[in-house]
Subunit: 371 residues, 4 copies
């Protein structure tokens, strides 16, 4: 087997509050995690995951403060930090730290390919391009850069693409209009959906799931039959470009970790995730038994309420509940379904799944340690 | 085999709104359900399941209006109607109609025992006895009457006991105090928990799960290590006595339906329910496949947030969420876990599980058609 | 003075729950209210006032059941029943019963004009006309019929027009499309706003506040600088036409009651309401003193969160709160502001104020007894 | 008149988000505020004001980061920072910066007394003393120290006492029990109420509103007829002692600012606040007119839902709403009532008013500039 140059580590750490970075601080102090190797940090924080969820920014601020004590501020800015609000039901607040180290080539490699990580940032997106084909194409190009960074050439080796994408604010809309341009939407909340949707379609194009020539502005956030099975996108007000993390399999990387993915057709469709586990070497009949749970490094899933108002023919009430947002309902319920399979609750289940899996369903990626 | 005298039917019917009784009206019109045979109706309605949930009363009013067109008002009052609010996540509003008919003894019976239903009402409970040992004993006696009504002699044949119990209002508290008595609590909301808890312990005593002599007033809603594995209790302001429904197995009943139960040790402990399914003849490795789902007549479960604040060592945030009640979180999450096993969403998952299963877990009863 | 033919009475009755009609039952039993004279019943019920608020339907069902014991079902259907959900803050659930009796002409009349009530129903609205100019015109025509019914000829004598208007359901949209028509919106929730907005503009046209020729389809739910100062509109799934109640002043009516109105420019603009009180003969410097409160028969107001996100230059957070709907915030806050003036809390403050007063403000009508 | 040594300034600054300290940064940059003179910062942040409100800590962290660039960390810690979550209705997020400067004795003083500020910290409170008489006495002693710091000798000159008090955590309870002590409560959320209540009674004792000898452990959070008219207390997990800010009138201070207070008997009792305004030289009949609003430096009020379930005899639904906490309802509603009087929305209305004003009412303090 050829020599690998890198080795990916994935650390799942608990959080006692949105600003609790003590587990990461301990891991750094003990040498378990080297700050310079951190590629990305994904976190589930305990806010409502909607507009007025300040737990995400609070967590990022706290991570930046901690890492700023170990790294130059430029290096801190390089780390993709994606906080997803909402730990409904018994979902447990946690962070997933993705770390890359140089491969130790004294140990012979046991696997032809291993978990590979790559990242990229796109140029800044013009506001009038948000939610339209130019965003799709810009993200598609960015994913290819991230794939190259990960050492992945075959799109089939990509199993998870996390994109943090910009959104419109009133100032940005007005600036575009001052330039004589019109944005896709004027509603700033809706712009988040359009940005997530176009970004997801960009992933689909980069991975060959969809052809750019088959897509159009009109389809974005309208024709949900077109989607990526491997995209997870989320919007943030703090950036104007896109921050992309690709996770897949590559011969350039070594180590026991591997990643695979599945698509849930609806909110209770857990069998595809079971099949992904099997492909990762974990054959389970019922729930993953306690002895095997330690092999699962991370579960990354998207949840949403079916627009049809039904799950397998039965009415759900998530879209009609004016007290609790449907995204909160969906995370709790899908979190329960997945926890019933995996046997633990610190699962990265996030909402807002436009063009990410079919209506009411969504992608699930699993990272596991092979024997 | 001895001749059976009765035959139980269980109908799971959808509801389009809290007052939608059209599916039941159709079933009556088509002769699928005979109003005179209805023993009990359990319903999941789409309110918040908490104090200001008026969907329960609205549903009961609508059922009474429909049944009042077919039965005398006395006969309507005989039917136990237990509405449970809260269809969080993708849980689906529905009602479960329990019907008893005379056995058709021309058809030879295929099973030694079949699903048996029995009901009872206790005397009115003095307000000062609520949440104390006299309530435990009164419910225990009532359960024995309902068992006799069901033709069940061995407590091991009982798998589900639904108790609707009274609660305290300010008027009732003051009336007790005027008689020189003190109630267990003066907080009317808390009185619901005490009534549910004492009722559940009453079930445990009747079924021999606990001995009355080992219990005391002090343990009620305090020592949650003592619980019933088969009780499901809920409070209602409209009654002063207890309305009890027992479901079990009896040679006095015939038909393909059978009931079994399991106890979830925590909110994701679905394997015991899988084992119960197997005992009912449904052996499934992953999710119940579509072809077999029709055999499952009803799933009746209790959900609650663990007071420990943890599920298998991981922190949950349900008890700290001041925007969404922990009971809503728990129903959504446990509903997802159970739907992941059963493959459908019209599951009767209710909250408020004092002394009903262990902290954070709860009983699950399954009624299924045998081949 | 000419002889009056009618005399209006207004009864403000408390509700202990959405289905509590006991105060009305008592008033009927005591002869205080004659069922045959009831023109309309407006109610504030304690649901969330949003999509899944079933307290409105529960209240209507209970009123129908009560009135059905006194009137033929046709006569019950004639009574306009408009339930508004949401008693946030200390707003108090109540109903306002509008009753018309024959004038007692033995008593000389003290006032040239008195509170006058009129009602009308329009033809059924084609779904493709909802939220468009044909609805504006249909409502305008209906208001004129109701004015005639009230004996009001001068639009300046109209102070309050309540319109209950239809909304779109998926079935109605599909039926329109099957006829080759396109509806103004396909989102059923949004159709409520469009129907309320077009109805309010219809009131404005009927009252001469706006000219139909200055309006267009494009302005509806877009140009909020155009509005009625006297409209209060609400949508209901149960009707296809419009149910209109006009309240104003007419020489055809006698009695001490009079109505006036004001427009709040924003959510704390209570001084115009104070001026309206003065025009009704109630001059108050601070809060209406206890001794005078009994003279106020009803306060009918609309509340909403300013789309600008500001009140007098200061940011509000109502539109960004994903836990509590902005309509709930607005009712609580405007309810507090008005209660601070009027000195009591059973105020009819409702939400959803498209084209009803300026952005963030709204109309207030006051009915008071003159000395 | 004797020479004053100090001069208090009060700055009301807007916040665009919980971590927005830009207005304070600008004021410091422009020399409007001298960081070294800051005595206290009170802030209204836009969280839910309940258990899982992280906007308070996020705001404090952001203030500390800003002030840490101007002051030594010890000096930052000296500043009392009290964030109150919840800007319901149109209440506007803002901070109130209290600053003390040396008096400029070249300008002759226009008033015998002016706004005076004093602060104190108590010793650490033993956990078993929380919610009991020793806490009452400790706070009473602390208030006297803060009064001395403010140069106030007559308790009648004190108009507002803000106390930030500790709460119990499971660790603190267990530590007390390990010492053989029992805490007043074991429920950590309830401990906040007990700490607030005992602290408020401590203020009452210090100000001579109540006598310590008339109080007992049993009365704390039970006998709400005993209360302070000038206390505002809030709990925080980050301290073990008490942080006390006293605001009153003293000859030791100069400048145009003065403070007075009133007590609302219920949530709509705005007339006492109007009288306080008059005592401060602002005589208004209706709403404070725009031209006078600039004279009002700060409004500090407490809001809560009446436990009686009624306001002036009319039922409110705040205590029965399981979707929205009663504290959120109360702040929105009382905020509306006060904004209707004062004419602006950046009012410091906070919840949790045990022993602070009568049941359902609460204290209001007003700081205004005299002519």
């Amino acid at each position: 087997m050829p020599t690998a140059s890198r080795h990916a580590f994935v650390h799942r750490l608990p959080m006692r509050s949105p600003d609790d970075v003590s587990a990461l601080a301990t891991a750094i102090a003990q040498g378990t995690i080297a700050p310079a190797g951190i590629v990305a940090i994904l976190g589930k924080t305990e806010g409502n995951g909607c507009v007025n969820d300040f737990t995400r920014a609070f967590a990022v601020r706290s991570l930046e403060a901690l890492l700023g004590r170990h790294l130059a501020s430029d290096a801190v800015r390089q780390i993709a930090m994606v906080m997803s609000g909402g730990t409904e039901g018994a979902l447990s607040p946690h962070m997933i730290v993705f770390e890359a180290r140089e491969a130790d080539n004294d140990t012979p490699r046991a696997h032809a390919k291993s978990l590979a990580l790559g990242r990229a940032r796109t140029p800044e997106l013009a506001s009038e391009h948000l939610g339209r084909m130019p965003q799709v194409e810009q993200v598609a190009a960015g994913v290819q850069v991230a794939m190259a960074d990960a050492g992945i050439t075959d799109p089939a080796d990509v199993h998870y693409v996390q994109v943090k994408c910009p959104l419109l604010t009133m100032e940005r809309i007005e600036a575009a209009e001052a330039r004589g341009q019109r944005t896709a939407v004027r509603d700033t909340l809706k712009s988040m959906g359009f940005s997530r949707g176009a970004s997801a379609l960009g992933v689909a194009v980069a991975l060959g799931e969809l052809a750019s020539s088959d897509l159009s502005d009109q389809m974005i956030c309208a024709d949900y039959a077109r989607y990526s099975e491997r995209a997870a996108t989320s919007g943030g007000v703090e950036l104007l470009d896109h921050e992309i993390l690709v996770a897949g399999m590559s011969a350039d990387w070594t180590g026991p970790l591997a990643i695979d993915h599945a698509v849930m057709a609806d909110g209770i469709d857990t069998e595809p995730a079971r099949a992904a586990l099997a492909r990762l070497g974990l054959n389970v009949a019922g729930q993953v038994p306690a002895a095997e749970r330690g092999r699962i490094a991370a579960v990354l899933a998207k949840a949403e309420a079916a627009q049809s108002g039904r799950v397998r023919g039965h009415r759900h009430t998530m879209l009609d509940d004016s007290d609790v947002s449907s995204t909160r309902h969906a995370r709790a319920f899908v979190g329960g379904a997945l926890a019933g399979l995996f046997g633990f609750t610190d699962l990265f289940v996030s909402g807002g799944a436009e063009h990410q899996g079919p209506d009411g369903g969504g992608p699930v990626a699993v990272i596991a340690r092979r024997d």
